[in-house]
Amino acid sequence: MKSFLKILPWLFLGLFATEIVVVLLPKPESKFHTAEFGRLPVLLNGRIQPFDSVARNSLLQIRSTGDVPLEEVPAWKFWQHPQKLKSTAWLLEVFFRSDVADTRPIFLIHHPDLISELKLGEKGIDKSGLRYYTFVELVPVLNEISEQGRKASSVEDAQRTTYQKQVLKLANAISLYQQLKNSIQPEGATNFVELITDYQAALPAGLAAARATQAGQKTDAVALRKLAILTQQFEIVAKYALPLTVPPIDPVNKDAWVNVGASLLHSVRDGAIQPAVSCFARIATAYRQDDVAGFNSAVAGYKNWLTPNFAREQAKGRAEFYFNQIKIFLHATIIYIFAFVLAGAALLTFAPAPQLSESLRRSAYYLIGLAFVVHTFGLIFRMVLEGRPPVTNLYSSAIFIGWGACGLGWVLERIYKIGLGSTVAGLAGFVTLLIAHNLALGGDTMEMLRAVLDTNFWLATHVVTVTLGYASTFVAGTLAMAYIILGIFTPLLSIKVGTDHDITLGNALTKMVYAIVCFATLFSFIGTVLGGIWADQSWGRFWGWDPKENGALLIVIWNSLILHARWGRLVGERGLMNLALFGNIVTAFSWFGVNMLGIGLHSYGFMDSAFKWLMLFNASQVLFILLGFLPLHRWKSFKNFTPKQSVRSN
């Protein structure tokens, strides 16, 4: 038993490390080389990205998931992995087999009024209370959706009702989907190669006829009409195509990507079809005709054509495809949850089964270390892909706060070997990655930065320090939460810990919170002042009382208030914890709340659906603070407390 407890932590570590290794290993290619296609570079949102990112971000906006499940498995059978249509495979269908794509249940509607108004109650498939619809099912109500969407979009963002937001989201999803269907070839084309050959053949006669018309001479009306019909189809692609897929012929002007439609229309001038367009036509036709060998060789052909001039773009496509595939943050989240549970169990078994507790604590500690490594790997991978410092938008701030909090928790655990640091790290990692996951539903998380933010120097200094300030304030608040839970519901706080059993767990927690608050003050202050200097460089004033600036200032004020209250001995242990808990509210306001005000120079991260969650979070923190005010004899840890014996300590 004893030796089992000794190797248990290593077993856990080995298990999860193996899982990560398996995740990182390259995956086998499918019959159609969809992965090869998914790696091909395109230009969208101002940046080079692989087809797979286009697919994934579109699916996230339409369906709120990165893949399309092909069968429904009840949620309780979690061990059964349903067959899935991966993002790129789905995109191929949308591009080239829209008849099939139209029957995939991808449109998420969960507003009951919207479902009943569109009379969709009988249709769609239900999964855990969410309803998904196919495009075919929505066809009869398309007009109504776009009409309602138009009405909703005329209402100002902040004033929209949930219904209006839903209908607008649905209308946007449908228009995104229809754009995708016309992104490479005209929707429904069965043989794109033939279409282009016809076009090339029709060009000379058609153009001659057009010139004749202009000159007022007799024209060949048949040739003219034939060309016009073809051009009309390409015009649709030129107008609606979402990603720019055809790289520039002139390699000097690297940004001049166009879409297939525009490129074909351009060919009117000299009749020459761009090699990239021909490649896409072959890919499209082979896929459409279920010709595996043809598809694979066409994709390989396009790849070879790209290599001489677009090697960098290809490398970017490959790297980002890999990053999409490994879903590294999802795997980090899983480890965080496990580590949190193990560390919590270690705390609870501390008194009754010290040996088991130590084994569990060690397991959690190792897993947090592993999760931190995985998290760091993901963070750095993203930085390399973007060529940016870690924090560029709300999404990446969540990733980074989680990373910072996890690192701090791990260090705390190294110093105080009681499982608390791991608990905090596990919880913070899990919650922040969950928040990040939800923020990613808005679309591309590696979007380009608006002009004023386009500066790696300030992003690397001000943004990183201020975000570390947020992270450490949250860690202090989470430790305070642990203090109150453990103190009221368990006798643990009065247990002696430390190498010489010289201090109680309560004292140790107090020291941790105090140290973290010092750390938080350092970072939030420096970060805020650096922000002021950036503002002086870009707007001409050090401080302008803008909401986001004020939010950062609130954190600085609050942290220094905690420190001064502590130095002046105005608060004891519990007071310190309650102050630290309130720090959570202050930080949450600064991180998310100010964006919801929708005013000010910094309001680039506006969001409203999070408001409910912010309020819930604040309410929970207030509840904890109220619990913190319970008289000490109600605390299980301080049952034997008599007023003489002070729990204040330094």
């Binding site: 101002g46 001409g540 009382w545 004020i557």
Partner: protein, 381 residues
């Protein structure tokens, strides 16, 4: 007595109370921006000694909460007195002192900025040259002597004086100016309309038109449009009453004693000893999108007295600092053919930089000391 005052000002309890008040103030002042806008919130909450509450229709102003200046001032007093006493009684702690001096500098710097800095705008079309910038909302009555062909002589009367609606005498002018009516915000109409009154001017453009006073603008992106009636008085009698208004694009022209004068109500101007010419404004976007990548203005600085003549590029996060002013890329014309530069004159702009260095060093010293202490203790145990 002095001792008790000193004890009061050294107490950490006072610090904590002030910080708590500061927290409430900053939060309140941030939320208030949703209703009253950034500018007014700044004045009411942060650049004031008290926040006032006016019961509806009473005309009273009841102070209900300390404002930014009061809290900041008290904090400053608190930390100054604390550090002075601290020196005598306890061992010197360089880190802490550096932090406190830095924080004090930040507070003082903000006050200096409030008092001494001025902001104005410089709007240039491609190829245009100007030797002045304009206030963003403050107007002035410019009386321009146009008699000489080569030089204009300008006498400008600021909006604050016009507001007092009194008689203004200037030694350089052969007439005095009596302000009959002055509206800080107004609207004009050619014909009679509900709520409008006829403009009581006797000469020039706008005599006989209609006008109406409007409440002052609270929105950030809109500005007041003032109008007024001024009468020009000479010892020989009146030269007539004229309408002056932000709406008028042409000046009122008055001839007197063989000299020609023009009256114009215009945005207050700040003249420079040099001129700026916009060579090119650029609005770069990311490929295939409308996301702005960069805004930049290539301007030519020409200074006759020193013969200086050079081109500079002003772009995001890279302003031009010149002659005590700083020029920032602030905005641009819809057609991308013109730029708006924000011009900031702030003599104390360096204080936060010093403050930042001091506090940074101080915090670092403190932090390292704690870390060192902790490490030794931890190792010992």
């Amino acid at each position: 007595m002095l001792d008790r005052l000193a004890i009061f000002f050294t107490s950490l309890r006072l610090t904590v109370v002030l910080l708590a008040l500061g927290l409430v103030l900053v939060f309140w002042g941030t939320m208030a921006q949703v209703q009253i806008g950034l500018y007014q919130a700044q004045n009411e909450f942060f650049r004031s000694f008290f926040i006032y509450w006016s019961p509806v229709d009473s005309g009273w102003r009841i102070p209900i909460f300390p404002g930014g200046y009061l809290i900041g001032g008290m904090l400053l007093a608190n930390l100054v007195v604390y550090n002075l006493r601290f020196d005598q009684e306890r061992k010197r702690n360089l880190g802490l002192i550096a932090i406190h001096i830095g924080v004090g500098l930040l507070l003082i710097g903000q006050l200096l900025t409030d008092v001494f800095s001025t902001e104005s705008m410089l709007h240039l079309r491609n190829g245009e040259t100007k030797n002045y910038s304009e206030a963003s909302s403050h107007f002035e009555l410019a009386v321009v002597d146009k008699t000489e062909a080569t030089t204009d002589r300008v006498i400008a009367i600021p909006q604050d004086r016009l507001q007092r609606q009194e008689e203004i005498r200037q030694a350089d002018l052969p007439f005095s100016i009596r302000v009959h009516t002055f509206y800080n915000n107004s609207t004009l109409a050619e014909k009679e309309q509900e709520g409008f009154t006829q403009i009581n001017a006797t000469a020039g453009i706008g005599a006989g038109a209609w006008w109406r006073e409007l409440p002052r603008e609270a929105e950030m992106d809109r500005r007041d449009m003032p109008s007024g009636i001024v009468e020009l008085l000479t010892p020989q009698g009146s030269l007539g009453s004229y309408l002056v208004s932000a709406y008028l694009n042409q000046p009122q022209v008055v001839d007197f004693n063989g000299r020609r004068y023009e009256l114009r109500l215009r945005l207050e101007r700040f003249y420079k000893p040099f001129q700026l010419r916009l060579v090119e404004f650029r609005h770069d976007k990311y490929p295939g999108t409308d996301i702005p990548k960069n805004f930049s203005s290539r301007v030519r600085v020409q200074r006759p007295d020193t013969g200086e003549d050079r081109e500079v590029l002003i772009y995001m996060n890279n302003p031009l600092r010149y002659d005590g002013d700083t020029y920032y890329q602030a905005s641009f014309d819809q057609d991308n053919q013109g730029t708006v530069l924000q011009v900031v004159h702030n003599p104390s702009w360096l204080t936060p930089y010093f403050a930042c260095i001091l506090v940074g060093l101080g915090l670092l010293v403190q932090f390292l000391r704690h870390l060192f202490e902790f490490a030794t203790k931890h190792n010992a145990s």
